[in-house]
């Protein structure tokens, strides 16, 4: 997925937010580090990411979207897509 990056959203702040929820170092949350195979994130922890994103960015994300969030790049693209909709 490729989405236009909004200049008013700091992707590094988003990375810090997601890293905090997942309790991983920001450095290890690379764009393509796989949530399940590399970071050990299960569906419940992914939901917590969803909670944090909805609250921080005041967006609505359907639960089904969680399954498509496999790495930070997916999260960033999803948030940008929701904010641009």
């Amino acid at each position: 997925m490729s989405t236009e990056v909004r200049p008013d959203i700091d992707p590094e702040e988003m990375r810090e937010l997601v890293a905090e929820v997942l309790d991983v170092d920001t450095e290890s949350l690379t764009d393509d580090a796989h949530f399940i195979s590399e970071l050990g994130v299960d569906s419940l922890m992914a939901l917590e990411v969803l909670v944090a994103l909805e609250r921080r960015y005041a967006i609505k994300i359907p639960e089904e979207a969680v399954k498509e969030l496999t790495c930070f790049a997916d999260v960033r693209d999803l948030v940008h897509a929701k904010l641009s909709a």
């Binding site: 569906s43 419940l44 922890m45």
Partner: protein
């Protein structure tokens, strides 16, 4: 210097199929930090017997990324952090792995407390709740303050304590698990009912317990469990607060939070996350 500790969850921690409950995940973390202390010349036994110091886990904040199972060999890395409060509080970060999968992480704070002599008289106020599980209501002594809560009043038994008098960290974890059980039963969605009716079990992605003040053996303890937030139909977060009566006040001795979702048991090996149904949401909202 970091430590790496290998351990397995206690058999007791598998209550539903072979999955390990949050309390026993946090026990593993506690044991790993204790082993780290031993390896670095701070044997809890020697600290107590020789130096008159007790090891008190005053804060544990755990995230459970994926379920641990019975028989899992868990490798926990313990990484000391800079001490806080002028060196008074030792801080550790932990990460627990099964093979290469990171199953849980935590931040743990430990204080060395002066141990009182065994037999030191201490005036404690004990309620008459000596039978069963004490008293539970939607409010006791105004502690719920109109919130979506229950209050459980009980007497602290000796086997929740350590150093001959103090309610210990693992005791608070037990209380947290127990008050959830009581809360769900009171709201008509007990663990057994949900298992029998839906094959659902509660699952916990994170939990935290902080000890603020000592609570003593056989004191009356009020545990307040307050649902703070229900996110969509997926997760709910509740606050956990404990109080004891001192003079004319109720003193808060611990606080914490726990987040729950529900999972459906697929078979003896697997489960999948499910959204709350209307009955569950209504029960959580006290409707």
């Amino acid at each position: 210097m970091n430590s790496e500790i290998l351990s397995r969850p206690r058999f007791e921690g598998s209550n539903i199929c072979t999955w390990i409950g949050f309390k026993h995940v946090m026990y593993l973390i506690e044991e790993a930090v204790l082993e780290h202390l031993r390896r670095h010349g701070m044997s809890p036994r020697e600290l107590y017997e020789r130096d008159g110091l007790g090891v008190e886990f005053v804060d544990s904040d755990a995230r459970i990324a994926t379920a641990l199972h019975m028989d899992d060999l868990v490798r926990t890395e313990v990484e000391p952090q800079p001490a806080e409060n002028d060196g008074d509080v030792l801080v550790f970060k932990t990460a627990s792995y099964v093979d290469t999968v990171r199953a849980a992480t935590a931040t743990v704070r430990v204080r060395l407390i002066p141990a009182t002599e065994v037999g030191t008289p201490r005036l404690v106020r004990t309620a008459a709740d000596l039978d069963g599980r004490g008293t539970v209501d939607s409010d006791i002594d105004g502690l719920a303050a109109g919130a979506n809560a229950i209050v459980w009043r009980w007497r602290i038994p000796y086997f929740y304590c350590h150093y001959s008098e103090r309610l210990q960290h693992s005791g608070y974890l037990r209380l947290m698990e127990e008050v959830v059980d009581i809360f769900l039963a009171r709201r008509g969605i007990s663990i057994r009912d949900m298992l029998a009716g839906r094959r659902w079990i509660p699952v916990v992605p994170n939990a935290r317990v902080r000890i603020l003040e000592p609570a003593y053996m056989e004191e009356t303890l009020y545990t307040v469990f307050t649902v703070e937030d229900i996110f969509k139909d997926l997760l709910y977060t509740a606050r956990f607060d404990c109080y004891v009566p001192r003079d004319d006040d109720l003193v808060r001795t611990a606080t914490g939070r726990i987040t729950h979702g529900y999972a459906e048991v697929v078979d003896r090996r697997d489960w999948r996350h499910v959204p709350f149904d209307d009955k569950t949401t209504a029960a959580l909202r006290a409707e």
